[in-house]
Subunit: 381 residues, 4 copies
Amino acid sequence: MEAPRFKEARRAYGFDEIAIAPGSVTINPDQTTTEFSIDGMTMTMPILAAAMDAIVSPSFAAKFDDLGGLAVMNLEGVQTRYDDPDAMLGEIIDAPKEEATNVLQRVYTAPIREELVGERVEEIKSSGAKCAVSVTPASTKRLAPVAVEAGADTIVVQSTVTTARHVSKSKRGLVFSDLLETINVPVLVGNCVSYDVALELMEAGIHGVLVGIGPGAACTTREVTGVGVPQVTATIDCAAARDEHHRRTGRYVPIITDGGIRTGGDMCKAFACGADAVMIGTPLAQSEEAPGRGHNWGMASPHPALPRGVRVDVGVTGSLEEILYGPTSKTDGTQNLMGALEVCMSMIGAFDIRDMHSADIIIAPSIKTEGKRHQLEQGTY
Amino acid sequence: MEAPRFKEARRAYGFDEIAIAPGSVTINPDQTTTEFSIDGMTMTMPILAAAMDAIVSPSFAAKFDDLGGLAVMNLEGVQTRYDDPDAMLGEIIDAPKEEATNVLQRVYTAPIREELVGERVEEIKSSGAKCAVSVTPASTKRLAPVAVEAGADTIVVQSTVTTARHVSKSKRGLVFSDLLETINVPVLVGNCVSYDVALELMEAGIHGVLVGIGPGAACTTREVTGVGVPQVTATIDCAAARDEHHRRTGRYVPIITDGGIRTGGDMCKAFACGADAVMIGTPLAQSEEAPGRGHNWGMASPHPALPRGVRVDVGVTGSLEEILYGPTSKTDGTQNLMGALEVCMSMIGAFDIRDMHSADIIIAPSIKTEGKRHQLEQGTY
Amino acid sequence: MEAPRFKEARRAYGFDEIAIAPGSVTINPDQTTTEFSIDGMTMTMPILAAAMDAIVSPSFAAKFDDLGGLAVMNLEGVQTRYDDPDAMLGEIIDAPKEEATNVLQRVYTAPIREELVGERVEEIKSSGAKCAVSVTPASTKRLAPVAVEAGADTIVVQSTVTTARHVSKSKRGLVFSDLLETINVPVLVGNCVSYDVALELMEAGIHGVLVGIGPGAACTTREVTGVGVPQVTATIDCAAARDEHHRRTGRYVPIITDGGIRTGGDMCKAFACGADAVMIGTPLAQSEEAPGRGHNWGMASPHPALPRGVRVDVGVTGSLEEILYGPTSKTDGTQNLMGALEVCMSMIGAFDIRDMHSADIIIAPSIKTEGKRHQLEQGTY
Amino acid sequence: MEAPRFKEARRAYGFDEIAIAPGSVTINPDQTTTEFSIDGMTMTMPILAAAMDAIVSPSFAAKFDDLGGLAVMNLEGVQTRYDDPDAMLGEIIDAPKEEATNVLQRVYTAPIREELVGERVEEIKSSGAKCAVSVTPASTKRLAPVAVEAGADTIVVQSTVTTARHVSKSKRGLVFSDLLETINVPVLVGNCVSYDVALELMEAGIHGVLVGIGPGAACTTREVTGVGVPQVTATIDCAAARDEHHRRTGRYVPIITDGGIRTGGDMCKAFACGADAVMIGTPLAQSEEAPGRGHNWGMASPHPALPRGVRVDVGVTGSLEEILYGPTSKTDGTQNLMGALEVCMSMIGAFDIRDMHSADIIIAPSIKTEGKRHQLEQGTY
């Protein structure tokens, strides 16, 4: 007689639930390097700017490249729907709070114009910066070749949930191996969260995997649909796929943790969990250089009757340089992300990002500590 | 020498503590179907409206049937105690907050009149809708045949805690196999939460099991008596009983998770845990069509000296159609439940509800995330 | 080479972290009995009133006996230090909030007078009630015989932490087997929390064990000294000792869970964990009959430089009868404790308290649920 | 075929998550001793005052020695940078809240003057007190000999994260075995949190290890860099190293838990986890004798672009004697730390601090209890 089968669930963890344990050796910060490479293209800063209209405009992309990172421009947002994207950004930003969602829904119904795709890419390239652009799977065949022809250095194919196999009644899903034969620049794909999907994408030949579903601050996926995986577990699982793929093939496909990173501490934890780079949103939306001027909003939702992302007031807290390299008098970890990374590497004895993958992590919820910190700041402790 | 025996306890989980992991395959939303059947009677929406006076009136039942679901009318509430139930609903709704519980206690002391049972059932049937009605075990022998004769399509026998075996001094408990010989419509029974009880009920021949004790918003069972089981664990355990019963007998008896579902995310999680349908209360009490006009209250408590359910202000948030099918600008998951379900099925690669039972679930408390979302909405993040 | 040894810790649980699972059989509430016996002395209600000056006076003891329970009078409080204890209670109650602790420290420095011990015991006996009195270990040899001679039916020897073996430089500690030879009434001893200590106390011949260190609302033990064990684990461990002692000797020594019980749900959980009775404080301090008139305060602390218990405003919420037997319109479980117990027994199929020991318990934190309940009560949900 | 490797994480615990279980034997408080020794130098109180400018001045050190403890003076703070340190302390204390961090950054840029090192040490010695001073690894070779020559009894080499091996490009890291040959007083080193590092430090011959990274109230390490280990786990791991080192060599090197201790309960838990002494900050910063006059601030951060510690208002709550030995009317554990320690030892049957290492600890989160306590204090419970 067979025993009845009860469904089981694995415990998953988010950034707030873990900490990094210091190493047995410490090193001087000046011994560390934070380089990150995608298929031979190297950045000095392992940070990608999220493909959101409130964050990456052509001028932001130029500045972000200057500072060593890689900004990803959304090819399906205001930049490619309007001749004057700044005017539309202004409409969104200036809308009263209660009308913001309606304005967002209206702004994003204008059609994407292929000639603007080329224009924006050239705008970025003319600044001397590397150009990365994002498309959704449904538009990839149409827009990616246009962007590459205009000079784009990297294509990011991104949707809420991506797999190597998509079932569709009306049309054949995007096949990544076909795509890679068509265009000759590195292709990053996401988002995914599991070992199996990450491995399958790597086997299809893509050059980088974006990791994370449902954890971001401007993302309502988990509340609305129940779907979501905390970033620590997602990163660990996809890092295992990368290492396995590397072991089998000798090819190292970087993974980029995307979503839920608010502080230097979050970013360092992502690396300790196995990330090769991170994609961040809110901390950059708070920079003086961000086109959202202290606001942020999510990408369009895939279902017409579901709400598109809400507009969030994130505030302007400093220049991009201060947020990335300091100096800062903020003690909550939201500024000087690269300084924090260097100090972390020093404390755990990591010479480069890949060394960080060997750091010990511990499960240590921060609920109580945060309560105390809050009281401290209020002067009531 | 025998070792001393220490009582052990199993960890149980609620909706807020889990998330659904996306699948290895994604599908287009238009490939999905959300059908649900009870003994051959098929609904296009796997949602039952809870048998609460503030939610299901005959006219609400007609509208809910229109939209594809099945509303359950309480046969022991105002509808069958008063010629003019709307007047009594008005009294409850219009009572000052501090007197509401007293008014509730008074309203529910009027006797149940059998002729009104027939009238209300006919009222629903005359609209063309399917008619489901609920009775408590103690009244089942008396009221269920009346309802069936008047045309009821389904009888729901529901009490806080139901088992197949009830011990009583004064009278013989309800025996479900006897009941099923008497009436010839499908019988749903609940509520239960365990593998053993669910299996025993299925073996008695009933046609559906309601799952859930103590998790609902208008339910004080756990606070008062200590009894309660979180819905994720309850659903998983009863789903295992259904699958075992199916394996043994070839008969598939659906389980319906009842209580604690507030958002599309909660509902999707119930399906991922093994539910075939859900019964919901508060989200429907918030519709313009609900007779409670923005209020809700629990069913009578089984003990005369214990408090009856408290009246709760839930507010009116939209039409029934908006709540079930959108469109919506709400991003907290309380509206467009069916849209959310389709998106979820798409992300986890489920063609129908039974496919959802194979989705992976993870344990991932949402406490921190919610805190962050809250801050976002306040603009303080 | 031996492996290094790391200290390990066991997870312990409190009432808020568990729930009771319903049984496979339900019974009618009128089939249940709630009797509780200590060495042949039987009460119809398995509740002891805590030996606190704000709760048990001679007149309260009489009323509590009437309702079926056993009140324990503190022999080292105002009742035995003052001819007119009501006057001193008045001083404590009427003191401004900021002076209450100082007043408490002053009031409890007056000496205990043996003649008052006899008087108070006779006062209780003359009402026809059973008389239980509490003493600390250090005063037991002196006060217990006086109380017994005056007619006390039970002696409760109670301190924050009690063991069968106490090491002292200046005097020989209290030896329970010696005590039992001296007095011929049942002796209850506490508080303890572990299997070993409970077993050792039972082997010394005592007639009941009080369980619980550090969980009560008016108790600061854990905050100040770090010592404390949550009640679920403490009750389970001591119940295992009782069962083991019973198996070895055939003698059944009841355990009484003392501290941290605020609601009917908490009380039912204590029984499901193995308690034979409960000792409660705050819910009784909230009765109209309690001498503290809506206030409560802890017993004297064992260390002269540590603070004595703080005075807490608990409010008056109803008559003793309403709190114990209802009716009530409160839905938070703080009233009609015995009604809640009957309903619980019905739902889990327990005919008597010892049947409750077989109920399944589950670990199911109530944090989220409480949040929701709170919102409900605020009308913001 | 090898299985893929997923990174694993160990669960770590903080003070708020554990409690101490009482023992099988209790003893009278007058039977206990709280002595603590470093390399033959004995204190009657196992408490070190943290090397922070807001806490330890020469006069504070004298008073703290009087009371039986050991105060550690920071050799790289205002005391050795300024002829008149009190004036600089005044500037920090009197700065408006929004300018405090800037003032801190300015004050700590003045150079450290070696002649002031000698002066301050002599100032402490002239009071008759034992003199302990702290230095960072980078300044140790320069400042430690000066301090020893002036009469310092103990050198504390302290940085956020210390290991026995530090890798540096520009200069050779501090080698502890070299240092120990140079100076002939006991050397305490920290901070560390792991078995391996603690053992390696002990093998290098140092005389005590400071345990704790990231848990303190004035420490932002974890928020900014993600690095941190809760104190319970850190203490247990380093205590295992001490016991292993003792087993191998017969040499007992005490460990001192440093950071995160706010109450008597926290301190007692540290001892139950294996600490030989504790280093505390905030509770002492709250004394009338502390030079910070109700304020506290962290030590300088190791990275120039990262924020230095924030100034925190901790308030003045009593005299040093009241905080350490009472009497007190505070019931939250923040005063009479030594009284609390004696009571704890009594309840767990520990004659001395090393006996406390054998106490059982349990995992028992205090979240709910604290909620209740809060309500109690508000009078809303």
